[in-house]
Symmetry: C2
Amino acid sequence: MEYRKIKGEDEDRGSGVDDVESLRGKSLSLQGTMLDNNLVTIGENKIDRTKWKRKSVVTLALTVLTSSQAILIVWSKRAGKYEYSVTTANFLVETLKCAISLAVLGRIWRTEGVTEDNRLTTTLDEVIVYPIPAALYLVKNLLQYYIFAYVDAPGYQILKNLNIISTGVLYRIILKKRLSEIQWAAFILLCAGCTTAQLNTNSDRVLQTPFQGWVMATVMALLSGFAGVYTEAIIKKRPSRNINVQNFWLYIFGMAFNAVAILIQDFDAVMNKGFFHGYSLITVLMILNHALSGIAVSMVMKYADNIVKVYSTSVAMLLTAVVSVFLFGFHLSLAFFLGTVVVSVAIYLHSAGKMQR
Amino acid sequence: MEYRKIKGEDEDRGSGVDDVESLRGKSLSLQGTMLDNNLVTIGENKIDRTKWKRKSVVTLALTVLTSSQAILIVWSKRAGKYEYSVTTANFLVETLKCAISLAVLGRIWRTEGVTEDNRLTTTLDEVIVYPIPAALYLVKNLLQYYIFAYVDAPGYQILKNLNIISTGVLYRIILKKRLSEIQWAAFILLCAGCTTAQLNTNSDRVLQTPFQGWVMATVMALLSGFAGVYTEAIIKKRPSRNINVQNFWLYIFGMAFNAVAILIQDFDAVMNKGFFHGYSLITVLMILNHALSGIAVSMVMKYADNIVKVYSTSVAMLLTAVVSVFLFGFHLSLAFFLGTVVVSVAIYLHSAGKMQR
């Protein structure tokens, strides 16, 4: 395992090339080549380890937050139906994320001062791309209402696993990053394993989905995958830019598009019953959780990538099921065990596949 | 794909070391080292290609025969219950295999003459091991009657997939052949994929199998795996010995042990109703098919190995289901599709894993 981890770090060095290069530049001005090489190696290892740690922490945070998010949803469903307007909750999630980003930025400004990388004002050229992910998610959420004419809710859960494949394909096409053949095999297994884990006695009904349903599911998977990959492209385009500045711009447009969604879908309810109608403790917890996991997604995009995000959320799905056994007395099926085995092997293969890339 | 195939052939050269070495020895007596190397390479490639073709043909034959065997079983079940004594049928299968081996040997003797490698008489030292696989299968078949006290028939089908794991483990321990990490991952996937493909609404009941049921299923998987690996060890021990001589000895003991089984289980039925009671056209076809697939198994052991056998029979299981859709109007489940995807990826990984062994 240790060997593999170190090999993995070697492979992850790609995005850190700038820093390593600058270190190498400095060391060249010193004397004694052997000593230099050692210094460079130690420097590289330290940077690699820091990066690896940061990547692990954000991935773990995303997994735990996504899993607890699903558990909160199960909990709220058991407590009764959604009585609040989902659009107002989404708007509050974006607002909270925006506020957190600004608060962190404020602290950074006080300790490090305002620099080129952490100032909020940027060129129109840079900001112009930030509304796109929020717009894509809005379209996807609107489509979601129509797909239920063709598929039932459990079927939709199954079809949502198409997101895994669409993310992998768009990651390759748009970000032009390569996955090894073994990693592609792992990705197909991840999709098959997640779907297997979710199988139940009614799952076969999804095979009767009419053609329009498949088209809509595919379009939704592509929209969702595209939004994720596009967000990564925006965030990675300027690696030195502080993530909180990037988040601020993402979330401010998120607020704007969710305000539009309130007007389209819940204007009457908000006008008649008030903005916070039907809110409970669990709603507040869900908003808090969504905001934190949203920030974790951004962090994963910055310090890891969409592939790691997909693995992380898949593991969260399995984790949710296991936790639900203890919390809600759920039973685990044989299909769940088999799906978990396949997902575990996929994770192993994803990391083993790095070596031969 | 072409690249992978050639790489695969490189790896398969292990068992052909003798031939390649003797070629190399001859070429050393020639003059001109560059020319020699070319000759050796061409010679190696030709031998590799012949081996690869032979391996492919026997594997394909085993897949098709195993699949049609399963289809005959479904057909005979739909036609009505088994009315014949299974032990007499098994005895006839062994007899037929023995007769076919002798007939082929007779032809070889006429064309090539009797040599050290194709003569039937051998030392006791060599023959002494041949009864063991037949004895193991007899014990396993007797145990089969008792496991149904703990597991129902569909549950037993699921548990039989433990054979895949036991074969892999015993193959490693007894034959001391190595599988790469990727190939182990592929083997776990093969087991998970086959089980997934067989899932149905009652499969979860297998999770309620009592401890004794699990123990018996494990013992049976170990017996079956051991018998397979042991057969491979016997056959591979003397690579130059003609396969039909080896088969003759395997099957003659198979006849003997199945005669014992008739005495234990069906003595009364045979005495009262006759040896061939309840035989029909389909019974004859099943006996013919079992005999040919038994010979195909031996061939796979000789020219490939137990791992190839397991992959071959797994693919046969999937093939059977697909053919049954057309023949019997079966419906394929979502679980079947997912299992097929996982098995397909496992096959790819098994071949891709060769490269890094």
